[in-house]
Symmetry: C2
Subunit: 715 residues, 2 copies
Amino acid sequence: MTGKSILLNRIPALFRKKRGAPATAGSWLVRVAMLSVLTAAPAMARSSSSPFAFHNNLMPEPARLEVGQGYFLLLPGLTATTDKFHNARLDHAIARAMRQLKEQTGVVVATKVKHGASNGAAFVVSVDGPGAAVQTVIADESYQLEVTSQGIHLHAPAVAGALAGLQTLLQLVQNNGTEYFLPGVSIQDHPRFPWRGLMIDCSRHFIPISKIKQIINGMAAVKLNVLHWHLSDDQGFRIQSKVFPLLTKDGSGGKFYTQQQAKEIVAYAHARGIRVVPEFDVPGHTSSWVVGYPQLASAKGPFHIQDRFGVFNPVLDPARKSTYQFLNKFIGEMVKIFPGPYFNIGGDEVNGVEWRENPRIQAFMRKRHLKNSAALQAYFNRRLLKIVTSYHKRMIGWDEVLVPGLPKSVTIQSWRGYKSLAKAARQGHDGILSSGYYLDHMTRASKYYEVDPVPEGSTLTPDEKKRILGGEACMWSEYVDGTTVDSRIWPRAAAIAERLWSPRSVNNVNDMYRRLHVESLRLASLGLTQISQEWSSLRQMAGAGQLGPLRVLAKTMEPVSWNQRARHANEYKITTHDPLDHWVDALRPDPPFRHDFKLMVARYLQAPRREQASGMKLTKLFEQWIAAEPGVMKMMEHAPLLAQARARPGQLAQLGRIGVAAVSYLSSGEAAPQGWKQKQLAVIDAAAKPVALTQFDVLGPLKRMVESVPENSGG
Amino acid sequence: MTGKSILLNRIPALFRKKRGAPATAGSWLVRVAMLSVLTAAPAMARSSSSPFAFHNNLMPEPARLEVGQGYFLLLPGLTATTDKFHNARLDHAIARAMRQLKEQTGVVVATKVKHGASNGAAFVVSVDGPGAAVQTVIADESYQLEVTSQGIHLHAPAVAGALAGLQTLLQLVQNNGTEYFLPGVSIQDHPRFPWRGLMIDCSRHFIPISKIKQIINGMAAVKLNVLHWHLSDDQGFRIQSKVFPLLTKDGSGGKFYTQQQAKEIVAYAHARGIRVVPEFDVPGHTSSWVVGYPQLASAKGPFHIQDRFGVFNPVLDPARKSTYQFLNKFIGEMVKIFPGPYFNIGGDEVNGVEWRENPRIQAFMRKRHLKNSAALQAYFNRRLLKIVTSYHKRMIGWDEVLVPGLPKSVTIQSWRGYKSLAKAARQGHDGILSSGYYLDHMTRASKYYEVDPVPEGSTLTPDEKKRILGGEACMWSEYVDGTTVDSRIWPRAAAIAERLWSPRSVNNVNDMYRRLHVESLRLASLGLTQISQEWSSLRQMAGAGQLGPLRVLAKTMEPVSWNQRARHANEYKITTHDPLDHWVDALRPDPPFRHDFKLMVARYLQAPRREQASGMKLTKLFEQWIAAEPGVMKMMEHAPLLAQARARPGQLAQLGRIGVAAVSYLSSGEAAPQGWKQKQLAVIDAAAKPVALTQFDVLGPLKRMVESVPENSGG
């Protein structure tokens, strides 16, 4: 019996049905897209197969994976040997991986790396060379990883690939209850897109340097390779300039990174295979620049850093030579801190108000036949491009910079969407997709997962497709700070990371969620707080009582989407001064329970009278909802910060009672009295109303249950 | 009705009985010792009294506290005004406190401090002057805090007192369900002892700088004021020396603090009212010194840093002039980093082996009539004292340095105990008690709480008593690292902090535990991980399954004491290379459940047939123990790191069944069959055996329950 047929035995009915018959057998080589179906089995099924069988917990999934029959037992003293090239970066990465392996398993593997001949060595890392000196876009991140009962062999043409392979190796570790091992596999992997980024806005809310480092660790774990660091905006200028010290003195409220810290981040990221691209958003979003340097502004001032959010008037003056002299000096200073090949100048959301109201600027425009603000911004961008290029950097800007005549060397980052990106590619520009990957939109991981920088059926030519470098998840920080940011980035960004690394055919949502849960626990072990923060936040709000009932409520709820938040903006105004310690801040977007509950209900509704165990499990769950009410209500008596959720425990209990009744009808096959459904659906609809920017995330499946109940047709 | 009589109404029977009749009324001034009894009521009782009544959650308790009737409502915009002296240290401390207040409550108070006339200001900070420039031992930490419906007034003679008062203010915040407020109080506070320290050993395991900062935040919250930083030992030299770079190059394994980081820590601690005292332990515990500088050693070498624990042979050579020249240069470098008045030279545990085996040193001793190792060490210390004194520092050493003729300027830190300390005081030395405060001994908070540097009945004269400066909790790091250290320090160190700050009469253990629980949650909100780490550690061991059942088990267990660990040392060897991710590392010493369970059982056993509700609560608890078994056993099938606890879920279920049966007999008054008790006690005794350095912490109360069951007398 081959490894493969063992796996086939374990396809649960639910998934098999959806996919139709399993793919024809054939080559021993298993495409990952197939694999993700094969291994979607819940943990329960594990014990039925060989204790050393491969269980796919890789995220992102590799391009090609072949499952072997052997396994490599992890034993104390295991030592990594580099048998070809090595440098400090590689050695440190291996040592880090070995330390992590040791902590993960308790097996005392060696953290010192050996160099030299590999004969007899159990863990060999063969790297051909260092790769590009400063990471370019096309750093070779490919690697091969072979695990047999004899040992582990990681081969990569360049260090960047070895770094990626080490992360895969860590994700491969399994155990059989008494021993840790790596299942026998042969992996040939490379990313689908070379640019897999995460943008962090550190202006609207400052994110401490220690948190940035943790986030970098998380990025490395899921093979994201670009940290796009949004360092200035209307709410704060966040990096020290020695040439222009008033940028932070007057424009940061004291919250900024020193140059030393920024250099540390660049080195820290580079060590982990991640390029740092700084963004200084000009000419708009510049309130924080002009507080200390009003001579840069297009209006008179005085200015102040913004403590609210939106699009503001302050904009740099493109009609003065001194503006370009300033930018030239400033960029000259920054490129010493950020050695990478890219420089992001933002360029989004200029409202043109100050330009229109300034007669000198209007005269400047007439003289140069610049007929509107867009044309003036294009003029500004052309001059800026010369400066950026003079420092041997490639310029990136948001969609707005794409105007006729823009030099092709400028890369477009699209917040507008795939069409805008495709247009740029047709015009010869490189492009990065961010539309659809906004983490602050509180979108579900499954939705991000569907967004593809080069979707199936794209009409771009192969050359144009190559210009789509990849994508970037965006963490805008209107409503996050250092305390809550993890729960907004993780684990959803890992789904985006997979979309950008793995073949397009890796697209099974249920399996993605299964692996996302495992990955989230792994990320937590790196110190990321997307799981533990819920406890801390609820504790902060609730005081010293038992948190159990409140957690039952919290796991059924989530923040509303960005659009809904915008719709309720007036009833819930937030400034940069307000602490983010409200009910909405404690809740996690797309909490794991949401998808689990959906699956449970789907399984049950396939055959409610046969799925008695599922029915009982659901009933138990609904009873917890009912039981939570008194505990939460009592806690609320001493928790002003929970006032916003006051209606919720009662609603959850109602939903629980509906659930209990629905299971009772469905499992017995009895019909409900006439009008029952309508009544229950009304209750569910009432509970659907967002309150304080939060909503239940269990209503859809519950509704489906109610709708499935047979009802007496009157009389 | 006065505030006091409201409080008196709330003394629960359990406590009232133990203390006898409540103290006679009389003065409106309530001694804190009394207060701790008055407010020992469980949270349940809260709703019965005025919604604005004072609830004592202060830790440490203040010297004097008077409860008023009014309260001060916390409203947005509240601003602190300093109306007398102010400096940057005070301003930053106030701003920090206001930020914390804002985060804690969501009420947007102002974080910018006003200076000037206080008329009409709601929150006034009146400080007379800066206090000593560099903190001396007798920094004036006294303060007065008045809260009325009109406002908050904090007065202190020096900044150090204001810092202490701000912490009290934060602990005073309460809410009534919809609003946050400070109850009306008048507090006059000062510490009982001027030296309230925490020693952290960063040599045996390195503790990262970010964790040291978090610990400092925790220290400030409970008014500890000395960080004793144990920076060198056999396992590692932990601070950069620019004069002697091999100390860290060869002696640290790459894990050390840069001078810049150490200076940051000194400044960070100073800002929070905490003095940093560095310790460089000489002449023993110096393996890490002599790896790079073997010329300092008394034996030939080569040397290596130790990866095991205990007392090792390497010891500095006191017979060579060059040793003192080295120390002179080194200390000269270190005093620039540590500006405080004290310098700790360790001086403990010299085994004398290398001295005895070195003929040159033996000749040196004969020539100077030094008849044994102790005499040679005394000689060394006298020369060292001259060096330390030349830098205007006061020398501290452990008990061993106390030999006849030791200059009185040396302060003795006692690991041997109160008697040793009293002896030193009689001889004119200042002293600090550490014996009884060793956190690594895994002792219960209640035991630390009993240890008093100047116990009742001390026969020291008043002058001698003054020489007892205070005490220091010691966190030796054989078995802790940066990940687990919080759970070993907190919250138990807060009980020691209270012993050292509050009047001796503050000694109600039940109330201490009640407040300790609240304080632990507060400390967690500062980022300390003593609560959340349990989850992380269990998760690390257990993989991705549901953690609930495992947590039920974990909360009934604790690490064994230091002595028991020593007894089992052979079956459980640990080196510095081993990850601390075993069952014992996940468990918390003196977990909150232990004392809670003890109280529950005590309450129930007072009148089991009347306390039906308590009986039902206990039964429910025991049923959880029984129910946990299958879940934990299943989890263990995929968790090698849990193998050490394999016997425990079965034992816990057995204990649960015993509990259920005991409640059933006790609540009904029925007698158990003859022999029942003996059988149950045998099961409990079997479960008492430590396994893998862990033990149950619920056995005592369970045993008392079994013993209380009436039994048929045969036939």
